[in-house]
Point group: C3
Chain length 374, copies 3
């Protein structure tokens, strides 16, 4: 029954439109800019092994075949057809797509078409602010356009997302910055940046978070330790706790993305704060054969209504496949095991599986259930 | 054999004396002041599922029956009779009861009677200080009465407990505060507080911890991340390490309560410091179907003579039941598995089970073994 | 096949040359200076149970026999013969031996002879600096001799190691200290220390780390929480992250030793930084029956080319045995389980097993494969 469950992928990116060689494909597996260490390859990771387990059969090859065979077959079918076959195998009926990454990735419309599914947009705050700054003349103009852009984006997006939590931990200071502080930071930023210059001012990042909170849309915060560029301590769960405390009772929900290896802390926060939810994405998709064990840890303290499936995939449709397959497998193993032990009833297990796979996301983001019902 | 082991519940509270509706019962499951998030319920947690697994059969119903059926049956039997049936199923022969919580909970005598067991008192330091302050005139009087009250309490109590570790992390500064500091803090507190005003001054909290250390009774410290009111970083194991270092060699033992998700750190501290013990309570009782996995993690570094069973239960006798059942199940599964693998001998497994269930607590708190032997 | 895998033990110490009584043996099990808590024994730990499981049969006794029987038999055979039997059972073909511990432990040559294996030296930086200081006259002399000694050691050693990471967290400030700072610190140290006085100045420790980095040999950093003398926060993975950032791209590799309970953080760092490797030693050897579970956690994010077996053993050859046995068992269980589930192919599992057991260490340290091939 879990095998046929439809999924809402509540956080992912688009895929590349170009054919990929072995090296380019491998780099995307690691999710890194740089190469693997001499004598090693990112294929020798749980993600690499999971891709080799699940994807070759979808393109007509043996599971675990050598990467070079797989990529040859992928090129033979073409990037469009292989992407279509891969995405349509996932059972995802709605993709929520973060469109804010640089690079040539497909948008929500293309994902929806390739995957024969619905897709909605998640707006990433930092690039939105950078586009606004490129078009602004002066501080007052920048700040009013920022507010307007966040407001406009909220009309069509399902959520906002920010990586400020990881890259600028102290930006998660609990309170919104004072107006004078924001004006000063905006003036400084406009002075020092060139066109396209990145937003890395902690005060402006906090200002953006609070603008987004004002929209009422769920706010997805990147946490955890995945990002090498995160300053030391940026993944500290104590920072997230302080921000969760400051935003309690405002009526806007927070979704913690990527908390691993602090996923138990994230789960605990979902039990303490009514407005805090936790994403399962990378914690499962990147741990492959270990996903069931990690899922089980998250299920220790989290209320079952507070957890959300995602793939966290980007660039390779193989990662969308791995996210979905690994999640289903983990759910069957963990919940099935508890039913077999008598710890959970079968009815409860089915109900909880549906909640985590799609129901919680539908409720949180106000999505219909595919039969026209919200 | 583990199924019939008698238990010392080394940290719990009393139960409510009134009949409970579905909403009140659910709120106690979450251990929270506020409600669950919209569209969710605290019944959909490991604790909720564990209650539904273990308790209905004790009142003559099917396991996993709907919560409303269970509560109807509970009211039909009455709060006294259902409490008696529940508590007597636990196999606990001695309850150590923290009597310092506000609210109408039964005391050690009532728990002993309902559970057909022994019960002893754990004195919580903060409310003791607040009662003393209500009756004191001036700083000198407050400080001498505090010392006297701690001394008097030590005559009958088996242990002291404090939540200062969680709510005021920096209060765990290693050294005792200087006398002048304590006098100043006491003066300030008496000035600003009204009758019943809570103790939240870090200097006075440290002073209280050191008064309790002077008594020689074991001191139970609330650690870990369970409490939403904990300041950011309050659960940091580094704070506990510093306090353990400062108190080594004094002759007073420390018991770390509720360290989850830092339970491996707590276990490690028990291996480093002869005077540090770790409680298993909430780490097992709140994780339900996952308790065996969490217990196994704690058993990685902790010497087996340093671990203590508890339920950590409060308000609902169902939570005393869950604590005991989940612990027994976890012990059977973990130790039984190691015996089956040949990693442990059966004799050792039985001996360790008895130590953790009751023997370590009897030795630490100077309890008799129920046959009149200390 | 894993049962017969040859191992490179990439971090261990020598063994004691004297006969041991029950008390001395027990103290070494705990790895502690002090005694166990009253009423407890270090035999009642995972390490103690693992010794009793694996070692008695190697000396002709039943597994799990009482410690006193085992020690009697050990004395009967003599420390040399029992050491030989124990070490030769491990399947280790190359020992990398940290020779910098005080106390009468055998050196690489003796280990090699007793174990019928190769042995190479790891040079510990702190005692090297202390020996240099004993022989130096003045700051300039000390600093030039230090540089010379590190350079000379690099000619024969396979790696350097330092405990500065644990004992002096802030010493891991990312950048090398300025020359004037180093001169001042050296002057102060020479003034206050007596002969043999320990190196605990954070500036000099950082200077030593950067001298070692300049040699190009892999640098092994003690991390994690094993050491009671570590200052609070010394095990914080954020400190290691900052040092890894600062040393990226220099061409020198770092090996994180003993990161447990932060082993998932260490594994993550190996995935982010091409020059960071992680040791498995104490995380497995000290957790005994739980080693498979801990190994599986490390295998979540770490690229398989970045993990290195070790025993971390010191003083007792029993600990070398436990390290090797527990590792093999864990590898069979974890990788074998994934093959049985279809998550990994058998070919991949064999290849990864060989990499972690020996291949990665051979590549990193430039060791031959025992058939004369580098």
């Amino acid at each position: 029954m879990i095998e046929s469950l439809s999924l809402v992928d509540q956080y992912c990116h688009g895929v590349l439109r170009t054919e990929l060689g072995l090296g380019t494909f491998e780099a995307q597996l690691g999710g890194r800019v740089g190469p693997a260490a001499p004598g090693t390859t990112f294929f020798d990771t749980q993600t690499g092994f999971a891709v080799r387990r699940w994807c070759p059969p979808l393109l007509g090859l043996e599971a675990h075949c050598p990467p070079a065979h797989y990529l040859a077959r992928r090129r033979e079918l073409g990037v469009l057809e292989s992407g279509r076959r891969l995405l349509r195998s996932t059972g995802v009926t709605t993709y929520l797509v973060d469109t804010g990454l640089p690079g040539e990735l497909t948008g929500p419309g293309e994902i929806a078409a390739a995957g024969a599914a619905d897709a909605r947009e998640i707006v990433r705050l930092e690039p939105l602010a950078e586009r606004v700054a490129d078009a602004s003349c002066g501080v007052a103009d920048l700040l009013s356009r920022l507010a307007e852009s966040v407001h406009d984006a909220a009309a069509t997006a399902v959520a906002f997302t920010s990586v400020a939590g990881v890259r600028h931990g102290p930006a998660l200071a609990p309170e919104p910055p004072a107006h004078a502080e924001v004006r000063a930071a905006a003036g400084h930023w406009l002075t020092v940046r060139g066109p396209g210059g990145p937003l890395d001012d902690p005060v402006l990042l906090r200002h953006l978070l609070w603008l987004a909170l004002g929209s009422g849309l769920p706010l997805q915060l990147h946490t955890g330790a995945r990002d090498a560029r995160a300053p030391a301590g940026g993944a500290d769960p104590a920072l997230v706790t302080a921000f969760a405390s400051a935003t309690a009772g405002l009526g806007t929900d927070l979704v913690l993305l990527g908390a691993y290896p602090y996923h138990r802390h994230a789960a605990h926060l979902t039990s303490v704060f009514p407005h805090v939810y936790a994403d399962l994405g990378p914690a499962l998709a990147h741990t492959g054969a270990r996903a069931a064990a990690v899922l089980a840890e998250i299920l220790e303290l989290a209320p079952f209504g507070k957890l959300l499936f995602s793939s966290g995939a980007r660039a390779l449709p193989e990662l969308h496949v791995v996210g979905a397959r690994v999640f289903r497998e983990a759910l069957v193993r963990v919940l099935g095991g508890w039913v077999a032990d008598g710890a959970w009833s079968l009815t409860d297990a089915r109900r909880v599986a549906e909640m985590i796979a799609a129901g919680n996301a539908r409720r949180l983001y106000g999505l219909s259930d595919g039969r026209g019902q919200p």
